[in-house]
Each structure stands twice: as C-alpha cells, then as structure tokens.
Amino acid sequence: MSEKRIVLRNCGIIDPERITTYLDRNGFKALEKAFSELTCEQVIEEIKASGLRGRGGAGFPCGLKWDLSRNAQGDEKYVICNADEGEVGTFKDRYILEGDPFTLVEAMAIAGYAIGAKRGYIYLRTEYHYLLGLLKNAINQAKEKGFLEHFDIDTREGAGAYICGEESALMDSIEGKRGEVRYRPPFPPSRGLWGKPTIINNVETLMNIPQIIVNGAHWFSKLGTEQSKGTKVFSVSGDVKSPGVYELVLGSQLKELVEDLALAKNVKMVQVGGATGRIIPHEMMDTPLTFETILGAGAITVFDESRDVIDIVCRTMEFLAEECCGKCIPGRQGTEAMVEILKRFSRGEGRQKDIRVLEELSSAMMLSSLCGLGQAAPNPVIDSLQHFRSDYDNRIRESEGG
C-alpha cells in the first residue's frame, strides 16, 4: 500500500512562511464554507459523521468532544492545540508544523466557530522553540488577511515536561503552574482552562478538519476501517533504513509501514505508541494499525534481532519514572519500583518472584493511576513478558546459575 496524503497534503508543497502559497491550494476555503454555509451545529455534525477520532493517542471522538463543549455553559470557551509532542519516538507534529502551519490555524478558527470560542492557544513544547516564529508568522498572516476576525490565537511555550502533553497537565501549565495531572471529572469540555469549557485537540486531529469541511464527512468516512476513519501520520525510527514521517490509511498493516516503506530488515519487535505503547513481536507484523488494535500517537520504534528486550523495557521505564508528575502514588512509586526490578534483570540479578511482582504491580498501576502515564506505563512490561518471556526466564537462569 502506498501513502495517502490528507494531513500532509501541503507539506513540502507550500511555502510555510507565505500564506499566498496556502491560498493557492484552496487555503481557508473550509473556514469560508463554515461561515457562509454551515451553522455551528452543522459543523459539529459533519465532524461527528466523519468518524474523526483524536490523533494524540486516546482516540476520543472529535465531534463528540466539540459537541460537549458547545453545549457546556460558560461565558468564555477555549480551543487548545496540543503541540507538546513529547512521546518517545514521535516527531510527526514537528514535521506538520514545519511544513504547513496554516492548515492548523484554519482548523482552530473552525473549531472556535463550532464551539463558540473566541480564543485559542497553541501549546508548543520548548524543544520545538525553533518553530515558534513560523507559527506566529502564520497566525499574523491569517490575521492580516482577515481570517481571524472572530478568533484570536496565542502561543504558549512549554518548559520541558513530557507530562504536559497530558491534557489536564497541559492546562495547568498554561495557567502558570506545575504541570500536574488533574482529578476528573470534571472533564475539559465542561470545565477546562481557567475552569471554562475547553477543547484540546492534537495537531494532527485538527489538520484533518478543513479537508472534512470542504470534502464532506462521507468522503472522509470512506477511508479506513469501521472504528478508525481517515489516515494516520506515523513517525518511524530505530533500526530502519528510511526513518521518517509516513501517512497511511488506517487499517494498513504494520509490516507495510515498517518493512515496505521504512525498509526495516531482521525485525525482532516494534514498539507502537512510544514509551507507553505496545510491543509487537515480529510474528505479529501483519497487525493492522487501527484504534481497535494498536496505534497510540503513531510512534513506531523498530528493533532488530541484535537488541536486548529487557534493556529496552528498562530504559523505557526509566523514562516514565523520570517524567511522571508525581501526583499519584501508583504513577510515582509504581514506575520507580519497576525500574528497580528491571535494573536487577539488566544486571543479571533477576529472580523468579520478580516476575510475579511485576505482574501484580502492573495491574495495580493500570487500575489506580490518575492518568494515562501510570495506567499505560506497565504496557512494555506486560507485552515483553507475554511475547519474550524466555528472555526473562533465561536471565533468571543465568543469575541463579551464576
């Protein structure tokens, strides 16, 4: 299967610094159509009917999120674009912002119209500081052309915290606080930024909006599978010949992406979805990439046969322990305890009973953590125990024998 460019349709084609090149590609036609032909409710109905789901990893239905926020009571409402792309192995939003900041601006203006918001924020991770000028320029040019008369967009820069990609931590960060996760409910569509109704969408989710408005929900919903409509932009890295960003129709097989496009050889396993993602062994490379199976934010890290599974899982857990915000005990202590055990395995001092502890700890963390970090942190442990159990057993045998 070849690539299908919807989100990336302008990347590499327009000049990201000049709005005229975007206008030449039907730029802002969707916003014009929304304003002149559609009511706010009709815009939301269109997004609902398209089946578009959030591209940041959670896959929440986008239209429903907008609807909840449109119907929520509030004198002010906000649209936030989550450009805090921090998931390990993800760089697709960087590529999108580098190539086509205008579509994002147009999409946010449409979102503002749909939910009744007058202000939007783009929260950009500070590691992407070099893109800030490009974004501000795109906003200013759109303003000069009169496309943002009813909607203001402001940028906010992160300060180095993976957890701020989590929506409630992100809002706390915009509010000037430590980026710690909030208790929910209330959810952002009813009470979000400054306690007001707020929608938070990933860069890639928003990038789909103008095309859906222009071409219609039906056009979009024809692509993909039952539960996963449209395309997905993947970031592929690790043991591949051609690392980079690829956009495929949802439902494409992992093998097509990793072996046919990124040209990987002798694959041992693939981590799909970054640090909190799933580990897929080589035997399962025909797994389709969908919300129903595996997806996350589309980080694809490929490992060849020379790699040590336990070493990779241990490093992944060290990352999660370091980036956990510390608010809930399962997240804070659970990740630390896992690092301790996994390091023991790495040093060749793993014990049989450690496996049971890892399993128990995994289920406790999944059940009781406050946010996705703690809930999904056990994924690499559970998956590696399931698919590469012999690696753990061999390590234990070596330790006990030695």
């Binding site: 991770r125 915290a161 993976y162 690790g238 690392p243 980036e323």
Partner: protein, 138 residues
C-alpha cells in the same frame, strides 16, 4: 507581561532566557510581586527541565538519551561531547562556556543521534560533526 500569578511560568521562562538561571533573589522577588508563596515559585521553577535553579553556562548542551537515539549509539555522542569539553553530564565547564545535560526525547528521532545546544537541534551526529559544532560555539 502583567503581574498576575497565571504569568508565573512565563515570567520564569523570561528570567531563565535572560539570566541563564533562576536565582533565589529573583524567586523571592517574584513570589512577593505575584503575591504567591515562595514554595509555589520554587515548585514551578524545579518542575520543568528547561528551567534551572542553579547557575548554567551560556551554552547548554542537551543530548537525547531516549530509546530511538540510544539505538543509534547516543552513548558514543555522550562520550565524545564529554571528552571534548572535559566534563560529565550535569556539570558546567570552569570557563562557563558549556553546561552539559542528558535529556529525554527531543522529537528528532528521524535524525538520531541528536542533541540540542540552547534552542538549536543537531542531528545525524558523529564525532567529526560534533567537533565542528562545538567549535562554532567557542
């Protein structure tokens, strides 16, 4: 930027950019002017990895230690940089030219191994390239 507490992070970021770190005096001053406790200010200042409560050199080198860069031998990059500037991660050179840190994924996995110096990203690193890059900061 106005002096209300929702601007705390922005004010800290501005101070960080201006002075290279957040001094105790600055944090005390900020707490007073925003009418928040010092621990609130210190809490935010120490939460984010790009803010520093300790003095830093003019140039901060951050080498990515996350898995995609690790697969492309980031260890070699860490050693090369360490040898060239004569310090270990977490340290600052005596002449205050470089501070050296390890960081988590910087979203440059397609050009791994990668590092940042201040806000600049450098990818596809090798020892020769590192020597040239470091020289440009001297």
């Amino acid at each position: 930027m106005g002096k209300s507490k929702e601007n705390l992070l922005i004010l800290l970021q501005e101070a960080q950019n201006k002075s290279g770190y957040l001094s105790q005096e600055l944090m005390v001053e900020l707490a007073k002017s925003l009418n928040v406790s010092l621990s609130d200010v210190y809490g935010v200042a120490t939460f984010y990895s790009f803010l520093s409560a300790k003095p830093q050199a003019r140039n901060v080198i951050r080498i990515c230690k996350s898995v995609p860069c690790y697969l492309k031998n980031s260890q070699m990059i860490i050693e090369t940089v360490g040898n060239k500037i004569g310090i270990k991660p977490g340290e600052t050179t005596p002449d205050d030219k470089f501070s050296f840190q390890l960081t988590n994924c910087i979203g440059a996995c397609d050009k791994a191994p990668a590092m940042m110096i201040n806000h600049e990203v450098y990818g596809d690193l090798n020892p020769n390239k590192i020597a040239k890059i470091l020289k440009s900061y001297l």
